[in-house]
Amino acid sequence: MARLGRVVLARLAGSVPVLLIVLVGVFLLLDSAGGDAVDAYLLSMGGGDAQMAAELRTRYGLDGSALSRLLFTLGQYARGDLGWSIALNRPIGPVIAERLPNTLWLMGSATALSFLLGSALGVLAGRRPGSLLDRVLSGGSLFLYSIPSFWLGLVLAVVFAVQLRWLPVSGIETIASGKAGLARAADIARHLVLPVAALGMIYLALFLRIMRSGMAEAWGQDFTLAARARGLPDWRITLNHAARNALLPLVTMLGLQSAAMLGGSVVIESVFAIPGFGRLAQEAVAGRDAPLLLAVILTSALMVVIANLLVDLAYGWLDPRVGSGAGHD
């Protein structure tokens, strides 16, 4: 366990330079915008004099040269302070801590759904490549893979929330319902069904396709032939030999797709009005709140780093040929 901890720490430390590149790069991009959050704030207040604007800029480190602003921001981040959101008039750290769980629930459920269902259907399709079942599942997955998630979300909302009235149209939970404990959890789960389906479907299709092609490849290889020669039953070869091997590229894909999924949840959160991380990014854009947008982008980069770390650990556990990730790049 101590060794695992060291590996994790070493990996996180190794990602600091890349995160620093992200921080500086995004800072410079956002800094080049004409008009800052103080302008947007004063506009929303109905105007203000130059002295007030200058005072606000000094307070939020928005005055001086780009370099001094960058150093101000770097210093803030080094102290673990994400800065102050002018648009929301609150410190950014707590805002992110408040919004992040909703997005994590959305993404976690979508990942679980797409991974479990996608790999299971992929095993079914890849069990007999070229069979009718395979062609139906492969064709269906290509179709699913081509559907924009935000549009799928709208269609699902029309059918299941507007027409059938089975599920709520939007939000993360019923407002002021006074529910607590399990009742509240069930309420949130009901609200999550449609967004999770909309976000997860495209990945379900992707994972199905990867699993299927991995299975199809495994049938031609020596280890499945050997298992067959040993007289193992068909289902054991399918699950223990072919599927276990085909799972490896799928796990790799899980890490690679985490960034894309985070991006996808921005649009899904907008469709279903979920007060999550993606909505926060949009609010930052609308309020010209560069410090907030910077913090959102940096936190998502950190989340992608952590997701990839988890994937690497899982990989080492699934494939004994790979160590626990120590010393590998």
Binding site: S15, P17, V18, L19, I21, V22, G25, V26, L29, L30, S32, A33, P129, G130, L142, F143, Y145, S146, I147, P148, F150, W151, L154, V155, A157, V158, V162, A216, A259, A260, L262, G263, G264, V266, V267, S270, A281, Q282, V285, R288, L293, V296, I297, S300, A301, V304, V305, N308
Partner: protein, 273 residues
């Protein structure tokens, strides 16, 4: 290469849809002349009820079919341009990294890493918000999140080509390193990148749609994403306003995949199992 391609019905179907789409996009001003955003009739005519307005009208009485046709123009133009920019930028960086090696390679690949851990859509959002929504900004914003794949593929290919005899020969002939890298090696690193080109184009079309759905597309062009967003207000009474442009998007993306898959298979000589 053409025979196995033509023998696959799904590739033919995809190719036909894609060709039709490109023709519609190219000749949109001839097929649906005039301003697609002009008022053409009563508002909210349902589809298939008026022969003059086959797909009906939207909330403001604009011809949905004309909007759809002009939206195809934006989708195709942005999708192809963004993919082109991403492939070109990725190839250049990947080739430079793979050929230069050493500190230059390490630095360039760190930058690729940095771009890969930032969700491309968030980056596009940030870029559009800074540069202001216009067609070219949207193209660049999409390319920002798409160039790392080609860069990695090109670098891997260049690394294996770097030590070949023809490179040594070019050095002996006195070619400059830049000339060897970009004129001799880079074209050879293209095939693995082309194999994923259809995925890049499809992703670019989807990203453009998502950006304009959020109101960050070019406000002066008709886009399918913006049409879907517009229709959202009438989701209860006139869901077709959002559903029809979505179907157009799905058809575009699926035909791109079908053609791309068939092309990849015949390029790599791998037949369908």
């Amino acid at each position: 290469m053409t025979r196995p391609f033509l023998r696959r019905p799904e590739a033919l179907l995809g190719g036909a849809i894609l060709l039709a789409l490109i023709l519609i996009a190219g000749f949109a001003p001839l097929i649906a002349p005039g301003d697609p955003l002009a008022i053409a009739g009563r508002p909210l005519i349902p589809p298939f009820t008026d022969a003059g307005l086959p797909l009906g009208t939207d909330r403001l009485g604009r011809d949905l079919l004309a909007e759809l046709i002009h939206g195809a123009r934006t989708s195709v133009a942005v999708g192809l341009s963004a993919a082109l920019v991403a492939v070109f930028a990725g190839m250049t960086v990947g080739t430079a990294a793979g050929f230069a090696g050493g500190a230059i390679e390490a630095a360039l690949m760190r930058i690729v890493d940095a771009f890969q851990i930032v969700p491309g859509f968030l980056l596009a959002l940030a870029f559009v918000s800074v540069a202001g929504p216009s067609l070219w900004v949207v193209v660049l914003a999409i390319a920002l999140g798409a160039w790392t794949g080609p860069a990695r593929l090109a670098r891997a290919r260049v690394l294996s080509l770097r030590e070949s005899d023809f490179v040594a020969a070019a050095k002996v002939m006195g070619m400059s390193p830049a000339e060897i890298a970009f004129r001799q090696i880079m074209p050879l690193a293209l095939p693995p990148v082309l194999a994923v080109a259809s995925v890049i184009v499809a992703a670019a079309v989807l990203t453009e749609a998502a950006l304009s759905f959020l109101g960050l597309g070019d406000p002066n062009s008709v886009t399918w994403g913006a049409m879907i967003a517009e229709g959202r207000n009438q989701l209860r009474s006139a869901a077709y306003l959002s559903i029809i442009p979505g179907i157009a998007l799905v058809l575009t993306v699926i035909s791109t995949y079908l053609v791309g898959e068939a092309l990849t298979d015949s390029l790599t000589g791998r037949d369908k199992r």
